[in-house]
Symmetry: C2
DNA sequence: TCAGAATTGTTTAAAATCAAGCGGTCTGCT
DNA sequence: AGCAGACCGCTTGATTTTAAACAATTCTGA
C-alpha cells in the first residue's frame, strides 16, 4: 500500500547525478504541496504566501523585479500575484520618490497580521520535517544547493 | 550586477532549517526552468518531458494514477498532459483487459524517437551542473531528500 | 451476495505562470 | 544636451496546474 512498494522508486539507479536532480525536484514538489495545504486554510496560495513571507524578512526596499528574482518568477507573475494581494489589502505598492519606474512593495498591517497567524504553523511544519537535520547538515545542504544554482546559472550564460 | 549582491541572498540566516527548505525549493525551480528552456526547443513542456522520461524507464505498466504519484501531480494534471501528448502521437492509452477503469500509458515509436533526441542533451546538462558532486555526495543527497519526503508524508498522515 | 467504500479518469472553474510586446522611465556614453 | 540602450511594470494570450465534483468501475467486508 506504500508508495514505495507500489511504484518503482527504490529500484537501482543508473545515473546517480540524474537521480539526485530528480530527488531535489520531487522533494521541492512535495514540500510545496504540503505548504499549499496549510496556506489554503488561510485563503492563501503558495505564491501569495511566498510574497508575504519574503516581504516580512526583507532588509531593504524591494521593487517588483527584485521580488521576482528572489522568488524565481517573472515580473508578469509578480504583477498578477500582487494584484490579488492588493485586492485583499495584504500588501501595498508604494511610489518611490525620484524613480517613477518602480514601486516598493510592503506588507500592510493586515498582511502582517495574517502572516503572523500562518508563520508559526509553517515554521513548525518545517522544524518537524527537518527534525533529524542538525545545523551542520543543514548548512552543508544549503551550500550544495547554492553550488547547483551557481552552476546552472553559469550554464545558462555560456549558453 | 550579480544576483547575490543585488538581492539579500547571502545575509545571515535566522532559521537554518527553514533556509534549507528554501534552498531546496529555489534550486528545484532553477533546475526546472533550465530544463524547460531545453525542452521547449523540441516543442515539449517540462511536464510533457517528465511524462515521456518516466515512461521510458518504467519497469512495469503504469496507470495514469501511478504516473501522477510518480511525478507528484494530480490525476487531473496527468489527464491534461496525456491529452496533449496523445494529440502529438507521442504516447498512447492502452485499454487494460480485466479492468475497465484504468489505462496503461506507453510511449509510441514516435515518442521514443523524440525522447532519444532530447535525453542526451538533458543528461549532459545535468552531468555538467553536478560535475562537482561525486557518487557518494550524490547518494548522501538523495538519501536526505528521501528522508524529507518521508517526514512530510508522515506529517500529512498524522494530520 | 451485495451494498457501501474506495479508486480511476475526466470535467470545470480558478489561479499561476510565462513569452512577447507595450509605453514610460532612467542611465550611460558621446 | 541628447540619444541609444537598458530597465520597469503592465497587458495580452496561451498553457499548466489544481481542487472539487462526477460517473463509472472495482473492491471489501459483513
Amino acid at each position: 500500500m506504500s508508495i514505495n512498494t507500489e511504484l518503482d522508486l527504490d529500484r537501482p539507479m543508473r545515473d546517480v547525478r540524474h537521480e539526485a536532480v530528480l530527488n531535489i525536484v520531487r522533494t521541492a514538489s512535495v514540500l510545496g504541496q504540503r505548504g499549499a495545504d496549510l496556506f489554503r486554510r488561510f485563503g492563501l496560495t503558495e505564491a501569495q504566501f511566498n510574497v508575504l513571507f519574503s516581504l516580512k524578512y526583507k532588509e531593504r526596499n524591494w521593487s517588483q523585479s527584485d521580488l521576482g528574482r528572489r522568488l524565481v518568477v517573472t515580473r508578469a507573475s509578480v504583477t498578477s500575484v500582487l494584484d490579488k494581494l492588493e485586492e485583499k489589502g495584504l500588501v501595498e505598492r508604494l511610489q518611490v520618490p525620484g524613480n517613477r519606474r518602480i514601486y516598493h512593495v510592503d506588507l500592510t498591517a493586515e498582511g502582517q497580521k495574517l502572516l503572523d497567524k500562518v508563520e508559526p504553523l509553517y515554521r513548525n511544519d518545517i522544524h518537524e520535517v527537518l527534525s533529524g537535520f542538525d545545523e551542520e547538515t543543514c548548512r552543508n545542504l544549503i551550500q550544495q544547493m547554492e553550488v547547483i544554482r551557481t552552476r546552472v546559472q553559469a550554464l545558462g550564460e555560456s549558453k
